[in-house]
Every structure is written in structure tokens, then in C-alpha cells.
Symmetry: C2
Subunit: 148 residues, 2 copies
């Protein structure tokens, strides 16, 4: 998603093009694969525009989520995190969360297609998007456990 496409997208939705919105998207685009909190985005955006307000960050990430440019993810913390969405895939990607070190590993997979087909057939539910979290132990933590 380049800046010009973003401007068109905003205008199509009746939203105004502002320097704040451009800047927040740019910061997100510069950190693909990272799971950023509103506060973290705020700090990074302030390096370019120190005048920006935190409330604007909250409002802007909501706009970007609505436009499907970023995803909101919830990792059982007390803050929400946001991640740039891969525009090539129409789905969220998955997250594996280590119960040992809390590390989050992201991965793509389409093995859910048969699950989605089964749900459609069984209860008539048409899946548009999915969100999968796997809880377990990463290879490093498994090694540590074996050593003990």
C-alpha cells in the first residue's frame, strides 16, 4: 500500500487526508511483522511530529483497522497491539505464543480451509476472516526443559 493509494482510499470513504494519518501508516509500514501498542506507535510518530496527540493515535489506528490496513491483536495483556496487514492475503495470519518465554511467533498457513469448509457445511456459517492463537512451547524453551 503506497501513500497515493492510501489517499485515494481515504477519500473514497469520505475521510480527509491528514499528515497525521499518513505518518501513522508510514510508521506501521516501516515495522512489518511487529506487534505495536498505541503507546509505542505514539513514541515513534512523535520523532517526526512531536506535536501529535495520543488521542489521535487511538483514532487513527481505528481508521486503519476499518480500512483493513492493520490488524488489532489481543495477547491477553492489558493493552491492544496493532500489526501491519499483509495486503497479499485477505486473512489475519496466525500467532504461536510461548508459555515459557512469552515470545510470539507469526506464521501463515492455509490449513484452516478445510475447517472453514466444514463449518460452512455444518452450520451454514460463511467465514470471512479468522484468528488463530496456538499456546505452547517454542524450541528454545523445550530445550531448556529437557536439560533440567
Amino acid at each position: 500500500m503506497n501513500q497515493e493509494d492510501f489517499k485515494v482510499l481515504l477519500r473514497d470513504k469520505g475521510l480527509k487526508v491528514t499528515s497525521q494519518r499518513l505518518l501513522v501508516l508510514q510508521v506501521m509500514a516501516e515495522h512489518p511483522g511487529e506487534h505495536l501498542t498505541t503507546e509505542e506507535i505514539y513514541d515513534m510518530v512523535k520523532q517526526t511530529n512531536p506535536e501529535i496527540g495520543l488521542a489521535t493515535i487511538y483514532r487513527t489506528v481505528q481508521v486503519l483497522v476499518d480500512l483493513h490496513l492493520i490488524d488489532k491483536i489481543n495477547f491477553d495483556e492489558d493493552v491492544a497491539r496493532y500489526e501491519l496487514r499483509n495486503q497479499n492475503t485477505k486473512h489475519h495470519h496466525h500467532h504461536a505464543i510461548c508459555l515459557g518465554c512469552s515470545k510470539v511467533i507469526s506464521f501463515e498457513d492455509d490449513l484452516l480451509e478445510n475447517l472453514e469448509a466444514a463449518v460452512d457445511e455444518r452450520i451454514g456459517f460463511k467465514v470471512m476472516d479468522h484468528e488463530v492463537k496456538l499456546y505452547g512451547y517454542c524450541s528454545e524453551c523445550r530445550k531448556k526443559m529437557e536439560q533440567q
Copy 2:
């Protein structure tokens, strides 16, 4: 999970058996398949024990989650919800969330086993539990959309 087993489980963990803990679990057990907020549990528990405090509900649901008797679920609201865990299965069950009417449909499925095997093989991650949310349209909302 009957009450006697629960008492044994608490004592095994070095936790005390209290009337409040018994009551909260009982209320959860009387509402299988429902996704209750702390406030809703509070209201129901108060009908039997009006003296109980809200803080105790917060503390008790945390205990029940740790004991794997209930699951905490997050539906992109600003409150957490809790659901009785089916003791026959060691995993969370899945949730299909309708984008039209916000209805939540629960279902069991083990089609994730091949996904979990793939993750183990590919990145050495050992899955202990999973949480799946499908976003889409339920059969009723699909009918309404077709009629328009």
C-alpha cells in the same frame, strides 16, 4: 467436575476451600456454553450470597482459569468473558462470531490437529492449547442479505 473433586483440587494446590469459590463454580456450572462477564457472574452469585464482593469474583475467576475449570475469552469488547470448560476435551473450543448480528456460535473440532503437527515440524513449536475465532456471517444473516 463435582463439588468434592473441586475441593480436592483446591487443597492439592494449597488453596483454601471457601463458600465463595464453591458458589462461583456452581454458578458457572449452571450456565454451560454461556460467555459470562465478571459483572454477570457477580449478579448471579449475589442472589445466593448477597454479601459477596466484586473483587472476590475477579479473584475467583482467575483461580478457576488457573485450574483449567473455566476459560477466559476475549471478544473484542472492553470486558473479559468466562466460560465453563468441557472437562472431556483438553482444548478450548472454537467460536464463530457473526459480523452481522454479533451472535457467537461455539463448536468443537479437531481439524486443527494437522495444523498443530505442521507447526511442530516446521518451527519446533509444541502446541498445548489453541484458540480459534472465525469471523463471518451466520445462516440467518446470510438469508437476510440474499433477500435484499
